[in-house]
Amino acid sequence: MKAYPWRYSLALLGLVLLFNAIFTPGFLAIEIRDGRLFGSLIDIFNRATPAALLALGMALVIATAGVDLSVGAIMAISGAVAAGLVVQPPDFLLHGMGVQPVAVAMSLAVLAGAVCGLFNGVLIGFFRIQPVVATLLLMIAGRGVAQLLTNGQIITVPGDDFAALAIGTTLGLPNPIWILAAMALFFGALTRLTAFGLFVEASGDNPTAAHYVGINGKSLRLAVYTLSGLCAGVAGIIAASNIKAADANNAGLYLELDAILAVAVGGTAMTGGKFSLVGALIGAVLMQAVTTTILTRGIGTEVTLIIKALVVVAVCLLQSPSFHETLRRRRTA
């Protein structure tokens, strides 16, 4: 393991921004409009928040040599709970709970996300179901649950209260960026100031050894998947707040893949045993920067996915020791 596993993605992020700075006039400009900062850079960070939030949880999950495929579906559930509790549309499954204030509804939605994560954790930690399979289940069934909740309707939330979370700003910066920062600090403290991070790495690195030194793999996995679910819950309310609606079919769709890519691009090995939260964040921002670049440059639809894939290949190649070795051999030969 080298230090700064994310150095290549940071470099590539720099390149992408440089490219934009040169070819897209006004890309780096940040203006103040109505007391809020405004510009493409801000957009990139703002848009990257859901994936970055998921990537925080995913980094821990992957460090335990697991994976959480259900986070996209959990986002849909969380969004449905939040919007549903605020609006209480006629067929809403939880209509027994009555209309709730926005803050309560959102807290309950995050809680719902954590509960989903806990469910994964029980399957994986206690029943030792393989992570891919266990979270695949919620990935598939979770959207069904979200649809059951909303009775298949898009729940639109009128008014601005609900939207404030994602659209409002604090000190000029969009709220999601602050939320992400707070969550990142929380995760950073949890993993550096306590032994939690160490335990996570140890149990992903060598579960037997972890067991021998007294780490309780079950509760650890429970905690990690619950945290991942919590992140998904938060990402879910941000996504719902952003479009002022809960869309069970599309909220968070494919976002689990983005999160996994962000973690991988950030230099964390899928085989577990090490993680880098900073890397995960950089990875998420890099992926979003590429997307935004493609969008602002108006590059055609089919090619978009291919370009994104190429960027990931580039980072992964740069991170791969065998690639460097091949290069070196070529050069000396």
């Binding site: 393991m1 403290a189 550096r192 306590t194 032994a195 335990f199 021998y212 030194v213 780490i215 045993g273």
Partner: protein
Amino acid sequence: MASLLRMSGIVKSFPGVKALQGVDFEVQAGQVHALMGENGAGKSTLLKVLTGVYAADAGEIEFEGAAIRPRSPQEATALGISAVYQELSLAPNLSIAENIVIGREPMGPLGIRWSAVRERARGALSRLGLELDVDRPVGSCSPAIQHLTAIARALDVDARLLVLDEPTASLDGDEVDALFEVVGRLKEQGLGIVYVTHFLDEVYRIADQVTVLRNGTLVATDTPVAMPRRALVANMIGREAPPEDAAVARSQGPQGAPLMEAQDLGKRQSVGDINFKLHSGEVLGLAGLLGSGRTETLRLLFGVDRPNSGSLHVHGGAPTLTPRRAMNLGVGMLAEERKTDGIFPNLSVRDNMMIVAQVKRGWLARLPRSAYAQADGKKEELRIATPDLDRPIAGLSGGNQQKALLARWLIAQPQVLLLDEPTRGIDVGAKFEIFGLVERLREQGMAFVLVSSELSEIVHSSTKVAILRDRRMVGDAPEITEEAIMSQIAEGGE
């Protein structure tokens, strides 16, 4: 006086094996208790029952006068039992410091004090006379260092009973001395120590009591004085101990062209100045201290690592080696760390033994069933203790796994076999047989490069010995005796 630990009537079965059949075992405070037995006798299993890794099928455990039944190593640790297991159990991606303190991190008001973590790790290591870069990932260190890390961790615990399962299997003399010094001190402090080893010398150096297991039953327990060497061995193997072989005849000169020849072979930041010629019928012993680069030399010779200076000739040609090509040229290598580099845990013992022969034959031509019968022959020859070769190898005891790995290479019949600590964890009886086997194969024209932390093994089997110091080959030993080699190793070290 009540015993510190009393285990009585311990029974433990695995599918197809009765590992322990009603074993009684007692340890007093302030006593070093050696637990001896052949490979597969049940030593590790007994200790794992004690530390809560396995639950016994029957039997009682009493510790400090109270009945206990630990269900996990965590519970055992909490009770005051600290252990080093036979198979390395460290997290390779974590640093040495993290591996030593994990589970008992020094906390400050602001959470973990990382500087104190390093401090404590350095302290634990210095007790063993070691000074290491504690930020290094443990997986990048040599097996010996890894083992020392595990020991340092166990010694750092505040415990009343210390369990050491073959702690010295990969250590050199100096490290063993340092360990024994610490063990002596702990004993004086009143700790009970259970010590498993296959080195008889160690028993007579530190043990106050010896218990011998055979096939899962207790056969004898007494003081070392009352159980001299031959009696101990006889107890272990259940018959009279065979006489020790005389050292090999070293008279033969080199025959024909060298099978393998290294000239100034080296790899940056690893080892250098490797020079030797290996002929058919020779055993080249590599002697050196811990970390002197013996393993890395073998890695170069087998193509696991690529040299970037000098040349290596095999059968006169100078190929760029990979393990695959080395094998096709008739070179084989038994790796040092059997768990990470050797066994395929989920594959059957038989597949594990046959895989090299199969790889040599190529993937298209599956070995016929009749070839697989060779495995049964080797099982008998090396006395591998298992009821069924078609069960996963993970269920074998450490020493028996090692035997199976050796069998793997013997079945493949290479012309040059590189052996890195081949007897690691192997019981005394089998050791003789293995070196007898090496001797016979050598006489039939095979050549060996032998690395062993046991100088006596090197002296016993080698036809010539090369000395490694500070990762350089500094020349041949003038005379193959322990004293000559020792002084050659030490020379210039000052």
